[in-house]
Amino acid sequence: MLKQTEGSHAVAEAVGLCRPEVICAYPISPQTHIVEGLGEMVKAGEIQDCEFINVESEFAAMSVAIGSSATGARTYTATASQGLLFMAEAVYNASGLGLPIVMTVANRAIGAPINIWNDHTDALSQRDSGWIQLFAETNQEALDLHIQAFKLAEEVSLPVMVCMDGFILTHAYERVDVPTQEQVDAFLPPYEPRQVLDPTDPVSIGAMVGPEAFSEVRYLAHAKQMQALELIPRLAEQFKAVFGRDSGGLTHSYLLDDAETVVVAMGSVLGTIKDTVDEMRAAGEKIGVLGITSYRPFPLDNVRAALQNAQRVVVLEKSLAVGIGGVLSTDVRMAMSGLQLHGHTVVAGLGGRAITRKSLRALFAKAVRGELGHLTFLDLDWNVVNKQLERERTTRRSGPAAESMLRDIGVIATGIV
């Protein structure tokens, strides 16, 4: 049924339709509306046979999720930003133990400086945690990916993180097609666990493994992600057969056939990029877009195939690997290994900085002219940066950088703080 609703609410409805048995979560913006919605649905009896567990922290949320998933219950949680970092130890355990938990990450920056707005640094900080990580472009895709995530998680016995841009998607009202219970039931069978804690048939989950088998057990996690690489496109096809729309898969291509310039990105910024690319196409520029839906496993072969006829690649990412530059671009460049083309990393949209068509147009035009460097920070205010660098060069006790820089741009009134 078509509805005009908030992204968070759409995701809550999708999770509800997946018949979860345990939902545990600790509130943190911008994820809160999702679990609030699910809490209301459980209380109202709209989700049957489901227990909603309030926990005291994100660490507890993931710990409860591990426990409930190990007993064979379909388990869901959600978090963002510092919350994801706080649960990090348990995040690795969930995947190491092979427990098919589904978690929404409503992407938000990581402090310090504290910032509640959107970027991808939270999810990407867990890129090596062993979780499958899927990125949604729209609220419709966020809804659809959650339904696919439960099936994917349970088929390969790995947890899946569905990443959606905090605020930009979670708090946006837009049109979504919410499927029926019958459709979801036809796509997603009841959970059949590979391992289960059962007093009548005792097993231990989480044995200590020494050097004699640690590599083998870890390799198995990699092998399962490689299986997921095969499974994700098949699930997208099955999804289309039941629900009638393209959603998910490994990558999304847009106007790539004759593209000399390819922009690679993840998440909701793809929409703004496509609008910009349409304008540039209308002016005769051969430019296209590759959206990465599956970040882990990373589809090296698909990315390589999509880029092999291009002359230049611009990876635009809402993340920063301090000390090297890009996170996503490191993986994209690995896919490009041996291909003769120019690669550019663009760090954009950190901490909620708006990514505008105007800035993108200028950026892509610069790339086409061959004037873009290897690493660019989109719309960076060099005056503010240079002023602080100068302050630190000339003054030993230069003080806290964030406060000084805010004062320089006039956000904190001089003399008051």
Binding site: Q4, E6, W117, A172, Y173, R175, V269, G271, K274, T356
Partner: protein, 198 residues
């Protein structure tokens, strides 16, 4: 694509207004995207929310920097925030006030504007009268429907019923209906005046 920017203060239902506008447009079979700008969400602090309306899927995710219409929920913002930033020349301006544009000190700014694009409605008063609370968002939305013709009053009332229930919904609908009529009369008078001067 038609783009609306709503300015108000925390607690005035600015974000809800943008969401309801998107629901009203959806009810008319259109695509719509409503989203807030996220600042510190304190009561009384300036708040901005956005709504895009189009006949095709909306992919754009940037804030609305060149609106076709402005709804100003609190006229005291005129002194504090550059609410007119990027407004298209001749765009719709709807202000929650019982004063005129000239009395608000906007005479120079709107000198070349078509008179029927400049609307005011005492939305807080209407909300107090019908709902018993100073919540100007719904009467302004109905006023916007009358001013722009982008959405119909019936769709605004459907959006009210999607967001509220029972007496809150019916009271808001009454406020909306009166605000719609107020702005419709205001525009009729403005057009009459313009015709007389032509």
């Amino acid at each position: 694509m038609f783009q609306v920017r709503i300015h108000g203060r925390g607690g005035q239902g600015v974000v809800t207004a943008a969401e309801m506008l998107s629901i009203a447009a959806f009810e008319e079979g259109r695509h719509a995207q409503a989203f807030p700008s996220f600042g510190s969400e304190r009561t009384g602090a300036p708040v901005v929310a956005f709504c895009r309306i189009a006949d095709e899927e909306i992919r754009l995710r940037e804030p609305i920097m060149e609106p076709d219409a402005l709804i100003i929920q609190d006229p005291t913002l005129l002194l504090q925030v550059d609410v007119f930033s990027g407004l298209k020349k001749g765009g719709y301006i709807l202000i929650n006030t019982s004063r005129t544009f000239a009395e608000l000190g906007l005479g120079d700014y709107v000198r070349d504007w078509p008179a029927d694009r400049l609307c005011t409605v005492p939305a807080t008063d209407l909300s107090r009268k019908h709902v018993g609370r100073p919540m100007p968002n719904v009467p302004l939305l109905a006023g916007f429907a009358a001013a722009s013709g982008i959405i119909r009053l019936e769709s605004v009332i459907k959006a009210i019923n999607a967001k509220f229930s029972d007496r809150v919904a019916s009271n808001n609908s009454a406020a909306a209906t009166e605000a719609y009529q107020f702005v419709a009369d205001e525009i009729k008078a403005a057009r009459h005046e313009e015709a007389a001067h032509a």
